[in-house]
Amino acid sequence: MKQRVTEKITLALLVAGAVVAAAEPVLAGGKLSVVTTIPDLAAIAREVGGEAVEVESITKGYQDPHYVQAKPSYMLEVRRADLLFYVGLDLETGWLPLLVEGARNSRLRSLAVSDGIAILEVPGKDISRAQGDIHPQGNPHYWLDPRNGIVVARTIAHELASVDPSRSAYFSGRAGAFADRLGARIAQWEEAMAGRRGKRVVAYHKQWEYLARWLGLEIAGYIEDKPGIPPSPAHLAELIREMKAREIPCVLAATFTDPKIPELVAEKAGARFVVLPSSVGALPEASDYISLFDVITERLAQALAENGGS
C-alpha cells in the first residue's frame, strides 16, 4: 500500500516536472522571440532582426495604444518572448505592467526604445490631471517622425546584439541598411512636402507633434481640449471660429478616432478632414514602416495642396 502511494507521488512529480520542462520555451531554431507593444516597433525589429528573430506586436495598428485591455491572451505572447520592446514615456502604463507581471516570464528582457530620441513636450514640474491625460515624461508618439525610426533601429540592433552577440555584425549591418533605405526615402518625402512647410493644421489628439515638426507643419489647435478628454461644445465652437479666422485648411485625426466630431469641425470651418494612419497596419496600405510614411505624406500632400491655404 505504502509503496503504491510512493509510486503515485513519484509519478505525479515526474508529470509535474515534464509539464514545467515543456513550459520552458526553446528558441525556435535559434531564433530570438521578440514581442513589441506597437506594430511600428515590430516592423523595425523585423527589418533589423531579419532571419534571426521572430517578431510579434501585441497591439494592432488600428488600435489606440493608450486604451488597450490587458487581455490574458496578450500575457501568453509576452510569456513566449525573449525580448520586449516598448515605446515607454508612460504610453503603455495602463496595461503593459499587468501583461509583464501576468506573463511570469523570468527570462524576459524588456527595453523602452526611447533612448537617444529628443522627446517633445516634456512638461514642467507642476503637472496635474486637470490638464487631461498628459504624459509626465513627454509626448510618446515619437515613431511618427521617420528620423526617429533610424534611432530606434539602432537601439534595437544594439539590444539584439547584446542578447545574441554572435550575430552582432548581422544586426548592425541590417540596421545600417535599413537606415540607408529609410534615409533615402526621408529625403524624397521631405522633397515632396517641401512646398507645404509652415502650413497650419488642426489635430484631434496630441499625437502628430513629431510628424509636424519633421515636415515643418504648425499644429494650430486641437479638437481635444485636453488630451484624452472628449471636447466640450464651447471649445469646438471657439476652435471653428479660430480656424475660419486663420484659414486653417485641414483637420487631422487617427484611424481609431470616431470621425463624427472632427468631420463636423472640418465641415463647419470649411477645412478638409484627413484621416491618417498613426501606426503600421492602421490601414492595409501602410503595411510596414516605410509605407506608413508613404501613406501619411501622400494624404497630407493632397489635402494641403488642394486647399492652398495659409
Binding site: E24, K60, K71, L76, W95, S106, D133
Partner: protein
C-alpha cells in the same frame, strides 16, 4: 570614429572664442591662447585614450568571435563554477571601519530621498441612498448602506518594489464609522536570490483578496454595481474573502491562457468558518481560469473555484465552497474607447459536513450585462439571488439597473435602482447615487 573625434575637437575649438568673445585686452587674449593650448593638449590626450580603448575593444571582440562556440560555453561554465565556489567560500570578517563618507567630515546624511516612495493612489466612494424599507433590506441582503448620504469607503493603495526580489502591494480602507482595515498587504516574488523562477510560476504571500471567482478579486471601487451580489455578501461577508496566506499560481503551457492557482490560507473569514475560524486546520483554495479569444474583439473567461476549511460551528464541520464564473467581453479594437459590452455570471455554493442543520447548504447566482453605448455612458442590468438549498427556502431575488456616467478613467457618477423580494418580507426598492473617483498614480486595469 576618428572622424567623430576630430569633429568634437573642432567643435571645442570653435566654441571657445565664442564663449569668451567679450574679452578684448591683450592679457586676456594671451591667457585665452594659453588656455586653448592647454585644452588642445587635453583633447589630444583624451583622443589617444579613446583610440586605445577602441583598439582594445576591437581586440576583445575579435578574440570572442574567433574562439569556438563549445570552448566559450565551457569557459562560461567554468566561470559559473568559480563564482559559485567563491560565493560558498568563507565569509570575510565584517570590517569595523566606518564608511569613508561618514568618516572625517562628521556630517550625518540628513537628506531623505523621496525617489523610492511607493506609487500611491486613493479612491473615494460616496453613495446617497433611498431605501423603501431599510431594515428589511438589510435583513434580506446584509448590505449596509443607509438612507441619506454615506461615505462608502476611502481606499488607499501603495505599490513599490521592496528589493530586486519582492514587490509589495498595500491597500488600506477607511469607512464611515472611522474603522480602518488592511484590505490587502502582500508581496510578490519577482526574482529569486538563487536564479530564475521557473517560467509561468507566480508566488505571493501576505493578506490578499483570494482568487475565488471574479467578484471577490475586486476592490470596492471596481465593483460593477454600487453593492455586491447577494451571494458574495451573504457568504463571504462585506469585505469578501481577504485572507492571510500564501499562493502559487502557474500558467499552464497551453496554446490558450490556462492558469491554476493554489493557496493555503489562515481561515479567518468569520461568515465561512465561524468566529474561531478555521485557524486550527487552515483553509485551502484551488482556482482554475481559462481564457479564450473569439476573434480579436471578443473574449471568454471560464473559472472554477473551490475553498475548504474546518469551521468552529457546532460539531466543527468542514465548510466547502464551490463556484463557477463565466465572462464574455466584447470591445471592437478600432473603436475601443467608444463601445463595449460585458456579460458576466457567477454562481456560488456553500455546504457544511454535518447532520442537517439550517443554513448548511446555501447558494446564489448573479448575472449582469454592461453596455457602453457612448463614449462616456454605460447602461447595466443585473439579476441576483440567494437561497437555502437544503432545506429549500428563504429565497431572495433582486433586479438592479444602472446608468453610469464615466467622464474619464478617474471618475464616475452612477445611478442605481434595485427591486428585491425576500420570503417573509414585503417587496423592497432602493435608489442609490454613487460618486467614485481616483487620484494619484495611474492604475493599471485588470482585464
Amino acid at each position: 570614429m576618428g572622424r567623430v573625434l576630430n569633429t568634437i575637437a573642432l567643435a571645442v575649438f570653435l566654441s571657445l572664442p565664442l564663449a569668451r568673445a567679450q574679452g578684448s585686452d591683450d592679457t586676456e587674449r594671451s591667457l585665452r591662447a594659453e588656455e586653448i593650448l592647454r585644452l588642445r593638449k587635453q583633447v589630444e590626450s583624451l583622443k589617444a585614450t579613446l583610440e586605445e580603448l577602441e583598439r582594445r575593444l576591437r581586440a576583445l571582440e575579435s578574440e570572442a568571435k574567433t574562439r569556438p562556440e563549445g570552448e566559450r560555453v565551457e569557459a562560461e561554465r567554468d566561470l559559473e563554477r568559480e563564482i559559485e565556489a567563491a560565493l560558498r567560500g568563507p565569509e570575510e570578517p565584517p570590517t569595523l571601519a566606518p564608511e569613508p563618507s561618514e568618516r572625517g567630515s562628521g556630517r550625518a546624511i540628513r537628506a531623505i530621498s523621496r525617489a523610492f516612495n511607493p506609487a500611491i493612489s486613493v479612491n473615494g466612494l460616496f453613495a446617497g441612498g433611498y431605501l423603501s424599507r431599510r431594515d428589511a433590506w438589510e435583513r434580506a441582503t446584509g448590505l449596509p448602506l443607509d438612507n441619506g448620504l454615506n461615505l462608502q469607503e476611502v481606499e488607499g493603495r501603495f505599490t513599490a518594489d521592496v528589493d530586486p526580489f519582492l514587490r509589495a502591494d498595500l491597500t488600506l480602507t477607511f469607512d464611515q464609522e472611522g474603522d480602518s482595515d488592511v484590505e490587502e498587504a502582500y508581496v510578490k516574488l519577482m526574482q529569486s536570490p538563487w536564479g530564475r523562477i521557473p517560467s509561468g510560476l507566480g508566488l505571493r504571500a501576505g493578506k490578499f483578496l483570494v482568487p475565488f471567482g471574479r467578484h471577490n478579486l475586486w476592490h470596492t471601487h471596481q465593483w460593477p454595481f454600487v453593492d455586491q451580489p447577494l451571494a458574495n455578501n451573504l457568504l463571504f461577508g462585506e469585505e469578501g474573502i481577504g485572507e492571510l496566506g500564501a499562493e502559487a499560481s502557474y500558467l499552464l503551457p497551453a496554446s490558450w491562457y490556462s492558469e491554476i492557482t493554489l493557496a493555503a490560507l489562515a481561515g479567518d473569514n468569520e461568515t465561512l468558518f465561524g468566529e474561531e475560524g478555521g485557524r486550527e486546520s487552515g483553509a485551502y483554495l484551488a482556482h482554475l481560469k481559462n481564457f479564450f479569444d473569439l476573434g480579436e474583439s471578443t473574449t471568454v473567461e471560464l473559472g472554477q473555484s473551490y475553498l475548504t476549511g474546518k469551521s468552529s460551528y457546532a460539531g466543527d464541520p468542514w465548510t466547502h465552497v464551490a463556484g463557477f464564473d463565466l465572462t464574455l467581453k466584447w470591445r471592437p479594437l478600432e473603436r475601443a474607447v467608444y463601445r463595449s459590452f460585458v456579460w458576466q455570471t457567477e454562481g456560488l455554493y456553500l455546504g457544511r459536513d454535518r447532520e442537517a442543520a439550517p443554513d448548511d447548504h446555501l447558494g446564489g447566482i448573479y448575472s449582469y450585462i454592461a453596455y457602453q453605448f457612448a463614449r462616456l455612458w454605460w447602461l447595466q442590468f443585473r439579476y441576483d439571488n440567494f437561497a437555502s438549498l437544503r432545506p429549500a427556502g428563504a429565497e431572495r431575488h433582486r433586479w438592479t439597473t444602472m446608468l453610469a456616467l464615466v467622464p474619464s478613467e478617474f471618475s464616475a457618477v452612477r445611478l442605481q435602482y434595485a427591486y428585491a423580494t425576500a420570503e417573509g418580507e414585503r417587496d423592497m426598492q432602493e435608489i442609490l447615487l454613487q460618486l467614485n473617483y481616483a487620484i494619484g498614480s495611474h492604475p493599471a486595469h485588470n482585464y
